[in-house]
């Protein structure tokens, strides 16, 4: 096993993951990017997508986190993912997600056309939809 990479995923509601991994991939602005130990310093915005953490290169994904946009910073030793919303895919509850989609669609229907809040609600619906599809996929 090559040298491990420290990895952190932080959100405003807490540190979601902090540990070591051999390989981390993130959905960067211009496409998914993978990080290994001693990779070149890199910083990017993130799209909505999945951050995958592998303890060993050959193995399965140890942890998969869904992020709703954010930032990634890597300096060869450490990868830091900053996300306003993130969740471990293993903890996603499809029923709750679907309830939220329904609740938000109702809120959206009640708002007037030009309400500034509609943007956020649509984003929330898309995010929850994304979570549902992510869970639906075989790992």
């Amino acid at each position: 096993m090559s040298e491990p990479l420290a990895c952190e995923i932080v959100t405003p509601s807490g540190r979601l993951f902090s540990g070591e991994a051999e390989y981390v991939s993130a959905p960067a602005a211009e496409g998914d990017i993978g990080f290994l130990h001693q990779c070149a310093p890199f910083m990017s915005t993130l799209k909505r997508g999945a951050v995958r953490i592998k303890e060993t290169m050959a193995g399965e994904d140890a942890d998969v986190f869904a992020v709703n946009g954010g930032y990634v910073e890597a300096d060869g030793r450490k990868v830091v993912v900053l996300a306003s919303h993130a969740i471990n895919v293993a903890e996603v509850d499809v029923e709750i997600a679907q309830e939220r989609i329904a609740a938000n669609e109702q809120r959206l229907a009640e708002l007037s056309e030009d309400d500034s809040r509609a943007v956020f609600i649509r984003d929330e619906i898309e995010w929850q939809n994304y979570l549902v599809t992510l869970v639906g996929q075989p790992a």
Binding site: V10, R15, M43, T45
Partner: protein, 329 residues
């Protein structure tokens, strides 16, 4: 002489008020813990963001983002006033509202107009009563602020700022200095000043001292902060060392995306700070209310006993007097 039954009724009423205030005090104490934990939880995110921001900002020479441009003269200011939804928290809300009111009055005198964003029912009621228009208002969220609320506020003020409708954005909130003390604070959040990058870390390190149990976290976060600072310092002193970062799409674009998130984080922090302060203020207010009730009960009990004793004495005197009068006959 006060009526015995009236005094008894008052004692009972004070007693039940005391029960309520004591319960509220205990509830607030429990909630302080939760509110403090939320601040501690949010700290790594804020620190990481400050670190990233510091690294980029010191790299790009000229402030390209409109959020960094300082405008002069300031003609219109957006005010974010953070209060609680519930009362019974002592001077918690009135301190903030008074500070905001004074600020508005002072700015009016200079010919500067103010737009208000009210967070918390108390602020909404206050400004509605004064017939000041509200740009945005939030209710029922003061005890449990969500990042989505901060995002909504941030998006609105950034839009207003970039479009030139407002030239400055100021947030008024109660900073929970420690469990007992709340300081009415006002921070300029737009334009973003470069010096500010470090402030959030320092501010939170003091807030974290709220609770004994949070001390460990405080130590951890101050260590992190030192790290953030030293790395930021490294960049300024030897920009080559970290200057070879690859940015996607580009350094400027990352900075442009990061600044709104930074504004959002600062607003979120103000909301969290205020939520912790609210519980602290309520506990203090309810503690003194409970103490006052205890004092009042003991005073009233004394009055009650004296009145009862007085009544007994009068009765005895009457009986003795009556008996003596009978004997004389």
């Amino acid at each position: 002489m006060p009526n015995l039954r009236d005094i008894k009724r008052r004692i009972n009423s004070v007693e039940s008020t005391k029960q309520i205030t004591r319960t509220m005090e205990m509830v607030a104490t429990a909630k302080i813990r939760r509110a403090t934990e939320r601040i501690v939880e949010a700290t790594p995110y804020a620190l990481a963001m400050v670190e990233v921001l510091g690294a980029i900002a010191s790299r790009s020479a000229a402030p390209s983002s409109p959020l960094l441009v300082v405008r002069d003269p300031v003609k219109r200011i957006a005010l974010i006033v953070v209060t609680s939804d519930r009362g019974l928290a002592g001077g918690f809300n009135s301190n903030i509202l008074r500070a905001a009111d004074r600020f508005i009055a002072a700015k009016r005198a200079e010919g500067v107009e103010c737009d208000i964003i009210a967070c918390g029912k108390k602020a909404i009621a206050y400004f509605k009563y004064r017939k000041l228009p509200l740009l945005l208002s939030f209710r029922d969220q003061s005890a449990d602020p969500q990042i989505s609320q901060a995002r909504e506020i941030a998006t609105t003020v950034i839009d207003e700022y970039v479009s030139g409708k407002v030239d400055q954005v100021v947030v008024f909130y109660n900073h929970a200095k420690n469990v007992a003390d709340q300081v009415a604070t006002s921070d300029v959040i737009l334009p973003v000043e470069k010096v500010e990058y470090h402030e959030i870390g320092e501010e939170e390190a003091t807030t974290v001292h709220l609770d004994e149990s949070a001390k460990v976290a405080a130590a951890a976060s101050s260590a992190l902060m030192a790290e953030a600072k030293s790395s930021a310092g490294k960049v300024t002193s030897a920009s080559e060392a970290q200057g070879d970062f690859d940015y996607e799409p580009s350094a400027e674009e990352v900075l442009d995306a990061l600044l709104p998130s930074y504004v959002e984080t600062r607003i979120f922090y103000a909301l969290l700070d205020s939520a912790a302060g609210e519980q602290g203020a309520r506990r203090k207010a309810m503690k003194s209310a409970t103490d006052n009730a205890t004092d009042m009960i003991s005073t009233l009990t004394r009055v009650y006993n004296r009145a009862r004793q007085g009544a007994i004495t009068t009765e005895i005197t009457e009986i003795v007097g009556g008996a003596a009068a009978l004997e004389e006959e």
